[in-house]
Symmetry: D2
């Protein structure tokens, strides 16, 4: 069995991930680290084959550097890294000949929704995005929505219709990101949902993803754990693990 | 058979309505009037028992007054009348002891969606509205959406959650009308759709109405035709015909 | 504060309900009873003003009789009671001048979906039901689906279209219950969902309810707790508490 | 401009297609043929570069042979051809060094929905299909639904869960085709809709396609017209034209 340490093991994602790793037959959870623990000394003492890091934006970059420099295979679950940080970690992996997977989203369903949106946009240039989250998510639109908009726009072969809509109440037509209108709902009774709606004369195509619990991240996490063991470079985004 | 004249008979609604009245066993279409025709002389010459008026905002008010003063039962299919105009027409009906039904929307499905929204809002004060129309509809949000928002707000027993969302792209959270967020999509491949989404801890309830052709207005039109024959006052809105 | 005992307090519904009662400002949870505990001696000893019973089909009827005969206000969360058992409990409440609420479903969203389905069916006689549950729910269709079908059929003013569909694979058109086609999906990633789809020429109306956690039963439970305190008879079904 | 004859030009698809070809700048409609017309003599007389055939199952195979043997580029819009007929037409194209596209469905949205379903099924083996059509479609399930089921099953990497559901009303769990449950609704107010619902622990992914008018077939038709001009073999299915 592959030995695993989870860092940030007592938050929501860390807790669910701990249960998943403990239940797996291939991985053995040897230590759960919290805020008071020291990552560097833990890996030197316990020598895990793999570390899963769900710590927050403030320390995740430093943690990633420690792991890569130590040639410990690493799964980094973070959306807050900048492009230049990712580039640097990528170079560090090459230098150290070690593998690392950085993923802002571990849901295979969300990954597929984005992938399909990109394909559909090359046939249907008219598309809008609706995303619905619980009310504790204060900012809008969501990162998944703006990323989807970016993928759609990159894939369009013809530009969006140039018609002018008239908002007689400001905001009616949503936020415009990458030439795509995004509508954000914040309601109790939802965890995370997104619909991407494509329209063409006489037909519409909707891709809809709903998460109802953090369990949805576990198959993607296990996929990443399996893939990283044989990896000698950095991969950013779970979509690049799909075959 | 009840004799009927349709005024504004050559527009989209007028054409579909003419076919419906012609196909009915209870009503006899004796004349279709267009822009060049004179309503006043037509009703004096042909003495119809019922006139259906689908003319536009500019002349519909004058037409309604002509019909009511002539004691001809009237169905007025217009959304552009002001509240004071409706009040005046209502008084005119009382004076003339005649019936008139003014309806901005003849779709029974849309009427039921609004009625149910009002009921649901007394249990679920958190609600948002998504409306999707073809791209020829330039203004946003739709009249049905703002009317639904008004009904929802009047029915709330507790006020909406006072949480603050942060739009990092303007418009993400939609238009706010009657304390309710409205999101307007404009896409080909749709005629007219509306979803009213209610959320409460652990559950969500969505009321969704889709129109795919103008046929959807015909059952409501026939209902109005039947009801107006025995009416001695004005009724505004098809929802007030439902029992 | 009103004193409360929860019987069957360690199952899924009992656990969530215990947290809800403990968090409320109006009710005080004085005891949680499990399988080994005796309801009769507990109420005699602790004299609660209200008992909430989430025990199973085998003992719930006897528990209800004990509570009513003891003049303890009772909420019975059970779907397994027969009509004759409910009739008998109802008579027992009258005799003892005490209140009891028996509810198979505490979700206000589900109750509203059923209520709206009954109203819609009096205008749209064509309706079908789709219900989706997790795969641990082995039987199909769900009780909520067959109850909705019953309400729809009772409310139809015209009978369903008499057209004949041809199944070239058996089961394609679903189960027929109360003249209404019901389609049952069993998939991971869902807790409990139901769509009631109404169709009429040119338009369709869909009422959709999704539960994502047992939290959705808590507002209905609190509503029942509040109502039962002033009740001197039995009410069956949360829909009869709505005003 | 490329000269075009439409055969079966007076049915629903033929009428819409005629308008589309007439409106295009690349194609010139030189003749519309109906039931009384002779295809063979028309192509010999008018020598069109392209023939679009929307005739019915009885004569479409013979028409296709006439066109291919005459080396006339052909679009065949038919779902009734058998596999052996398609194989034979394919061989005939090779012999005659000419192009032919046979397509049961010209909607790009429907084609994408099927393509995405196949991809999704390699990650989510649990999937069910809901298809909703107008009530004039008498047979169930639809050809698109059974084709989607076939694609899903071919793509599954792990077999479906082996749990046993219990239908207490026959048909509740739908038709089983290619190990996939299909549910067919027949309601007014719909033209053609299909939902493919994928479930995995904690999340669900739905791919939904709605057609609201025959206009939706026109972009696919034009795509086929453009592609067939440079083709020297037969392509079956519009999905094989996408790049």
């Amino acid at each position: 069995m592959t030995t695993v340490i989870i860092n940030g093991a007592f938050g929501k994602m860390g807790t669910t991930s701990s249960q998943t790793i403990e239940a797996s037959k291939k991985f053995q959870l040897i230590k759960r680290l919290g805020r008071q623990d020291n990552l560097f000394s833990s890996i030197n003492e316990l020598k895990p084959e793999l570390v899963i890091d769900f710590t927050n934006a403030n320390c995740v970059y430093d943690n990633a550097k420690i792991l890569i420099n130590n040639k410990t295979k690493a799964i980094i679950g973070a959306s807050g890294l900048t492009e230049s940080q990712i580039t640097h970690l990528s170079e560090l992996c090459i230098t150290n000949k070690t593998g690392c997977i950085v993923a802002p989203n571990f849901s295979l369903g969300a990954i597929l929704m984005m992938k399909f949106s990109a394909i559909a946009a090359s046939y249907f240039s008219e598309a809008e995005i609706i995303e619905t989250h619980h009310q504790q998510k204060l900012d809008a639109p969501s990162g998944t929505a703006t990323k989807t908009a970016k993928l759609i726009d990159a894939s369009r072969r013809t530009s969006k219709n140039a018609y002018k809509s008239k908002e007689f109440i400001a905001g009616a037509r949503g936020a415009i990101s990458s030439n795509t209108n995004i509508h954000s709902l914040r309601l109790p009774g939802f965890l995370a949902s997104q619909q991407v709606v494509f329209g063409s004369p006489g037909e519409n195509l909707t891709l809809q993803h709903n998460s109802i619990s953090r369990d949805c991240f576990m198959p993607g996490l296990l996929l990443a754990c399996n893939k990283v063991l044989n990896l000698n470079h950095l991969i950013y985004g779970l979509e690049n693990l799909l075959d």
